[in-house]
């Protein structure tokens, strides 16, 4: 069936901000979809509120609305744009929910908009867990026994029947939000209570537990002629009970015979037909009993999902792209496989490699959060790697996490002699569980013991056991060529071998090169080499034959940003992708290295060549070597490596690469050091005559105390060389300082702690700029809405700045130029300032792309990252102005007064985390970054822009109802006018006593509620939990006495207020 001719204009809904469970992969899928639709000659309108996406780039859609993804805003866009069709299956649950709401309220029908790629009743059958179970039964499949409950009483009754442990799940939420496993009644109250609150339809599903079964996931595609293919089958190394998003996963399946695999495939096809998935992608999860093969269907996602991106990258089959084509009427056999260019898409990829995904967590950001892994997804990112065996891929994926410890044997590795504690620890799923398994095996635990303790399939355990045996050989023996080759074939890094042999990593590398043990690069080709591949999508392995072709163009390697984490997310991927586009357009051959499957940078057609590899010195060096050979053979030249766009990850490699003779383009590593190292940077500032908060560096507690005494409290303390404010705290007195030092084991001669004077009530300002050695292009000046002290990544900001005058902006421009020149920047520079008492303090300078580059680019319509890439390769700002990549005149310092205001707001993941006791984690912001994503609101006036950013981040702000106010004394004055305004608007006001006094004195009527800590029972927490409160204004009370605030805030998160 060819393309439909009745659709000319499609509205695509993006996924909004990056959240846990709904992350960058939807930028990837949405971007692919928009591109495809435009290639097909359709007009594409896009709505998405996240600036840090490729999807929202002007060239991706014909019209882009950076608006909140709520039914209301989508309706407005529909009214204005009048599209023929709406495509909402590529923007995750957020997009789908908005589309369903519009369908059900009749808006779509009223405007003659057809929902394509989705059939609403089918979506309900797939997503409503109860209806889905009926579908499963209808095709003869089996589901876990379960019961839907609407009240706590029903929950208790159902549990009596199902027995403990029992799985509690809300319907219609993704990423397992609010779900958990209850082992007793207390657990039940905690989880089911939360679940009832998290589900919009206010019901929870209780399910019999099948903990420990094998878990599988099949990614499927269906077209409107009812052709169905399985794109990828994924096996979870962690058995049932750990969310697939948090599990180590592997493709293809490793421990199923053909019979069992085909059984899952048959079930999937029957289910997809019975559910009636219109066209496009969907995934179905299964549990398989390891004792007898009994299969239970867990759930289905009737849309492109988180794992679709993974499956696409793992197989080379672009699910989102194909889903978009299917939505406009094509069938699978009419679509070409991009990689082979000769075969159709109506096939199932065959893998001749093993691909492993490992999750990346951020528990260190949420002290108190329960770090055990359950049915609620908690990871913030993931790394993926290819190898020819499971261990090889696993080890490569693990080192791609860039955490410490993340590789076996590296870092602190003194397991003692008794395997028992490691077995015990591995029995409870947690981040780094496989590290425990390895230790247990090393200390003599048997494969059966490990299997017993963890439920991990014996085959995987044996793979690790083989590695442990190899380790013993390496430790005991001579690292000759055969042994070294075996180690490399098992995925061991030079760093791991160095640890085992007690030598430096460079020595292992030298030995390896001398023995000629170097990786080759194989192609990800969808077909296990059955057909020639046209796309250079490579991974390294230790084999005979390399497939890297000679090339004749001058080339540039771009280092990506690795797995998403808090503080380094999709924004950096955005910059890398832009660099690739800009350099390709300028005639260079671009080569991307990255290990993050969720991103656009790892799409095989973003760059001329893609290496899906860990971002370590070793792995990058080998790619450089392979590409140098390719250039020698083909007549091109490797011009260098770009390190300043992927965040801290590539920046950390810069010096080492340069020392090894790899050319770095743009800001040289020495200059990077000047900006990153406090002492050196202090000197740059001093030379330029720019003020910084008083500070010092301490390697002992004594020193820290002396410095603090001298510069005066409050001070800000943190370890040096961090991103995202890791381990950063505001300290008000010596006692707190002592406490900080005791908790951070990091202090020492190699790990100095920085002590800065903390500037209270200062206005924080962020600047992104471009410098070519002579000229500065000021990208934009952002004024933070929260005062300095809240990490720049977590605070909202406005561009252009709303309270800064012309002279202040000029002062900022001048300071930025001085810093750029002093440091020696070639490319991007980000500077953070704090303005207090008319002094412009420099907080820090980052000689790299920053988190805000996409926001600035979107707000000012200037492609900063593209321009930066060109500057790094020698273009001047003047030339780029002539070329048109930068505006002919002026820059971000000259925004006209009537320019629209853009507001960026951060999105925080507190709702995901619980303490071990089951309480929420505290939500107060500080200098340590915690947000996972951001949204943008644009409007003519600040107020409406801000409101839009709030709706996009947290849902619509209430316009009536009850507001609860409780603020610290210092904030009482500031609160009066806003609260009176709320009262005028008809809000009922509740307040704690002190706050109420002030309000009453100012003529605001309000009801007094008790404090939770007074325990009188008339406090606000139960009312919040009961859903009687619509808006909360709360500021924490500085030092100590934060408990009330904590209860209130966690209750608010729970109820989504």
């Amino acid at each position: 069936m060819p393309k439909r001719t009745d659709i000319q204009h499609v509205l695509v809904i993006g996924s909004g901000p990056i959240l846990i469970g709904q992350a960058a992969e939807f930028d990837y899928s949405g971007t692919q979809a928009c591109r495809v639709l435009r290639e097909e000659g359709l007009r594409v309108t896009l709505i998405n509120s996240t600036p840090a996406t490729i999807m929202t780039d002007p060239e991706i859609a014909d019209a882009t609305y950076l608006e909140p993804i709520t039914p209301d805003y989508v309706r407005k866009v529909i009214e204005r744009e009048k599209p023929d069709a709406l495509l909402a299956t590529l923007g995750g649950q957020t997009a789908l929910n908005a589309a369903i709401a519009l369908h059900e309220s009749g808006v779509l029908a009223a405007h003659g908009v057809e929902l394509i790629g989705a059939d609403v009743p089918a979506i309900h059958r797939g997503e409503d867990r109860q209806k889905f179970k009926e579908v499963v039964a209808s095709i003869g499949g089996e589901s876990a026994r379960s019961s839907v409950c609407r009240t706590m009483d029903e929950v208790l009754l159902a549990t009596a029947d199902l027995g403990y442990p029992v799985v509690v799940r809300p319907s219609f939420t993704m990423g397992g939000l609010g779900s958990g496993i209850a082992f007793d009644e207390a657990d039940l109250h905690r989880i089911a209570g939360g679940g009832l609150a998290a589900s919009p339809t206010a019901e929870v599903l209780l399910e019999e537990s099948i903990l420990g079964w094998k878990e599988y996931e099949l990614e499927m595609m269906r077209d409107r002629a009812d052709n169905v293919v399985v794109v990828c089958a994924i096996e979870n190394v962690d058995p049932m009970g750990v969310h697939t998003g948090d599990s180590v996963t592997v493709a293809p399946t490793m421990t199923l015979t053909d019979r069992e695999y085909q059984h899952l495939r048959d079930l999937s096809i029957d289910i997809i037909r019975a559910v009636g998935v219109d066209t496009g992608g969907c995934n179905i999860q299964y549990a398989v009993n390891p004792a007898d093969g009994r299969v239970i269907v867990i759930e289905m996602n009737p849309r492109v999902s988180r794992s679709s991106a993974l499956a696409s990258k793992a197989t080379g089959f672009p699910i989102a792209k194909i889903a978009a084509k299917l939505a406009i009427g094509y069938t699978l056999d009419e679509i070409r496989n991009d990689i082979t260019r000769v075969t159709p898409a109506s096939f199932e990829p065959s893998l001749d490699y093993v691909v492993v995904k490992v999750p990346r967590f951020a528990f260190e950001k949420f002290p108190g959060a329960d770090p055990s892994l359950t049915t609620t997804m908690k990871s913030v990112g993931e790394a993926m790697a290819f190898g020819r065996t499971f261990v090889e891929a696993l080890q490569k994926a693990m080192r791609s996490l860039e955490q410490s410890p993340c590789q076996f044997w590296v870092g602190e590795d003194d397991p003692g002699t008794d395997p028992a504690p490691w077995l015990a620890s591995a029995a409870v799923p947690h981040d780094g569980r496989l590290l425990d398994v390895e230790k247990a095996l090393r200390l003599g635990a048997t494969a059966e013991q490990v299997h017993e303790a963890t439920g991990i399939d014996p085959w995987f355990v044996d793979q690790l056991l083989a590695l442990v045996e190899l380790r013993a050989e390496i430790v005991a023996g001579d690292l000759d060529e055969p042994l070294l080759r075996r180690a490399k074939r098992s995925g061991c890094s030079d760093a791991q071998l160095a640890v085992l042999k007690g030598v430096a990593e460079v020595e292992i590398r030298a030995l390896r090169h001398q023995l000629g043990v170097r990786p080759v690069y194989k192609t990800v080709d969808t077909c296990a080499a059955e057909f020639a591949a046209e796309t250079p999508y490579y991974y390294s392995t230790y084999e005979q034959e390399s497939e890297v072709a000679p090339s004749s163009r001058d080339k540039v390697i771009i280092l990506g940003s690795g797995p998403n984490r808090i503080g380094q997310g999709i924004e950096f991927d955005y910059a890398c992708v832009h660099a690739s586009y800009a350099l390709s357009a300028a005639g260079f051959e671009t080569i991307m290295i990255n290990a993050n499957p969720e991103t656009v940078s790892t799409d095989y057609d973003t760059s001329d060549r893609l290496y899906f590899e860990p971002l370590t010195v070793e792995d990058v060096l080998e790619v450089v070597h392979a590409e140098t050979l390719s250039a020698e053979q083909g007549g091109g030249a490797l011009l260098g490596v770009i390190v300043q766009l992927g965040g801290q990850t590539p920046l950390r490699l810069a010096q080492a690469l340069k020392d090894l003779g790899v050319p770095i383009v743009g800001t040289p590593p020495e200059a990077i050091h000047l900006a990153e190292e406090r002492g050196a940077f202090g000197k740059v500032l001093a030379d330029a005559g720019l003020p910084a908060p008083r500070h010092g560096m301490a390697t002992t507690f004594e020193q820290a105390r002396e410095i603090a005494d001298e510069i005066g409290y409050p001070v800000l303390v943190r370890p040096s060389y961090v991103l995202g404010g890791r381990g950063m705290e505001i300290v008000y007195d010596t006692a707190m300082l002592t406490d900080y030092v005791q908790r951070s084991t990091l202090i020492g001669p190699d790990a100095p702690v920085l002590v800065d004077r903390f500037l209270e009530d200062a206005v924080e300002i962020d600047v992104d700029a471009l410098y070519d050695g002579t000229d500065l292009y000021l990208g934009g000046v952002m004024e933070h809405i929260e005062e300095a002290g809240i990490h720049s990544g977590d605070s909202a900001c406005a561009l252009p700045p709303i309270t800064l005058g012309r002279s202040e902006i000029l002062r900022i421009r001048e300071s930025t130029q001085k810093i750029a020149a002093g440091v020696g920047v070639r490319g991007l520079l980000n500077v953070q300032y704090a303005l207090k008492d008319d002094v412009l303090y420099v907080l820090e300078a980052n000689p790299r792309a920053s988190r805000t580059v996409p926001f600035v680019s979107k707000a000012t319509a200037v492609p900063l990252a593209k321009a930066a890439a060109r500057v790094m390769l020698g273009a001047t700002i003047a030339e780029l102005r002539i070329e048109g990549l930068l505006p002919a005149h002026g820059d971000g310092a000259d925004t006209p007064y009537d320019a629209p205001i853009s507001v960026k707001e951060a999105v925080l993941p507190f709702g995901r985390f619980r303490t071990v006791e089951g309480k929420g984690v505290d939500t107060v912001l500080g200098p340590e970054m915690r947000s996972t994503g951001e949204v943008m609101g644009i409007d003519a006036a600040f107020g409406t822009a801000f409101a839009k950013s709030q709706s996009a981040a947290y849902g619509e702000l209430p316009t009536s109802g009850t507001v609860f106010v409780s603020v610290a004394n210092r904030d009482k004055r500031a609160m009066i006018f806003p609260v009176r305004r709320l009262a005028d608007l008809g809000f009922t006001v509740l307040a704690t006593e002190g706050t109420a006094d002030v309000l009453r004195r100012n003529g605001v009527t309000c009801e007094v509620v008790g404090k939770h800590s007074e325990g009188r029972g008339d406090d606000v927490v139960p009312r919040v939990l009961a859903g009687e409160v619509d808006l909360i204004v709360n500021t924490p009370r500085g030092v100590g006495g934060r408990l009330d605030g904590y209860e209130i805030r966690t209750a608010a998160v729970l109820r989504g207020i």
């Binding site: 399946t253 015979t257 695999y261 199932e348 065996t389 005979q544």
Partner: protein
């Protein structure tokens, strides 16, 4: 113990011995199925072939007594990247390596199977020797060059059952089917039996008179090894079936036999189709099935839908392989006879095409009515 693999054009790979120690020769072919090595090993169509698995880790689920497609392993050699040390499955009874050794099948592991596959793709399937007793590649190469070619090899009689046997119908018997065993896989009669057929599995050299004596409702031509151009007995038998108007269904080799009986030519593909992910379109419905395939030869016929005139009336290409526009099925328009090149019985592979067995049953029903 190390092992050597030498192709007839001299390309050599060194790896580890896997399975039996010894030396073996055959035609090197690669198989891209990611599951089902046990079914593959026991498929008689692989007789005299050295199978290279493109999936790198093989043996993970061991072997059992329920999955084999015949009574023994037929491949003449087995090539894998990484052989599993353990078997993990509730159905596993033995380790794969032990099974190969017990059945005397020589294998090799630890080689760059992707490089080998690419080589075969570019230069075509060719003869190969695998040895864990020879250390000199040149000596092994000499023996490879002396080993027989696949083109022109008549192999069906080597794999066929010597004695006729009956697979009883499951439930009430509705039809009698004479199945000519040219290298039949166990799941084919099973599929027919499930549909109420009593299946008489007959040797490859069975004559028309012997078939007629059974008074079957239909005749089935199985898959099998070798060059269809040399398999004359079954072709003659097929012509008889066509003349009498008995329903006929052929799979794989059986498709080629029907083709030849109709007067069509067969040819050798450069490197064949062996895997579980091959898209095949049914030209009548437009539907695409993901199929299991294992063939090195194919029928020559127009795939654009035009009918070819034959002594048995017009015939059309009913199924087409979408990867390379290869003939994947034939249908006689005036006789109750059809065949497919792919494997509706799967094992290993997807079950998409399983409905073809029902088509055959419907033909028999129609004939009876």
């Amino acid at each position: 113990m190390s092992a050597l693999l030498v192709l007839e054009d001299g390309r050599t790979f060194t790896g580890e011995a896997f399975g039996a120690v010894g030396e073996t020769f055959g035609e090197a072919v690669f198989c891209t199925a990611m599951t089902g090595y046990q079914e593959t090993l026991t498929d008689p169509s692989f007789h005299r072939q050295v199978v290279v698995m493109t999936a790198p880790q093989i043996g993970n689920t061991g072997v059992n007594d329920t999955d084999p497609e015949s009574s023994k392993i037929w491949v003449s050699g087995f090539v894998v990247r990484d052989a599993s040390r353990v078997s993990s499955s509730w159905r596993a009874q033995r380790d794969l390596g032990d099974e190969l050794a017990t059945q005397g099948v020589v294998g090799i592991s630890g080689i760059d199977t992707r490089a080998l596959t690419r080589h075969l793709r570019e230069r075509g399937s060719m003869r190969v020797g695998v040895s864990s007793t020879e250390t000199d590649p040149a000596a092994l190469l000499e023996r490879v060059l002396q080993s027989p070619q696949m083109a022109g090899a008549d192999l069906a009689h080597e794999v066929s059952t010597r004695q006729a046997y009956v697979v009883p119908a499951v439930g009430a018997k509705r039809f009698t089917v004479a199945a000519i065993d040219l290298g039949i896989k166990a799941s084919t009669p099973r599929h027919l039996a499930d549909l109420g057929c009593e299946v008489h599995v007959l040797p490859a050299w069975t004559t028309w008179e012997q078939v007629e004596a059974l008074a079957p409702d239909g005749v089935f031509l199985s898959n099998g090894p070798g060059d269809p151009a040399t398999t004359d007995g079954p072709v003659a038998l097929t012509r008889k079936v066509l003349e009498t108007g008995l329903p006929l269904f052929g799979i794989c080799f059986g498709n080629q036999i029907l083709g030849r009986a109709l007067g069509l030519d067969t040819y050798k593909l450069r490197y064949g189709h062996r895997g579980a992910n091959q898209p095949v379109q049914d030209r009548a419905t437009g539907r695409v099935h993901v199929t299991s395939q294992n063939h090195g030869f194919a029928v020559q016929a127009p795939t654009d839908g035009t009918a070819v005139d034959t002594p048995y009336g017009p015939v059309v290409v009913s199924h087409v392989g979408l990867n390379d526009d290869c003939v994947e099925g034939l249908r006689c328009l005036e006789r109750p006879a059809f065949s497919v090149q792919h494997h509706p019985e799967a094992a290993p592979g997807p079950h998409d095409a399983g409905g073809l067995f029902e088509d055959f049953v419907r033909l028999m029903e129609a004939q009876r009515a």
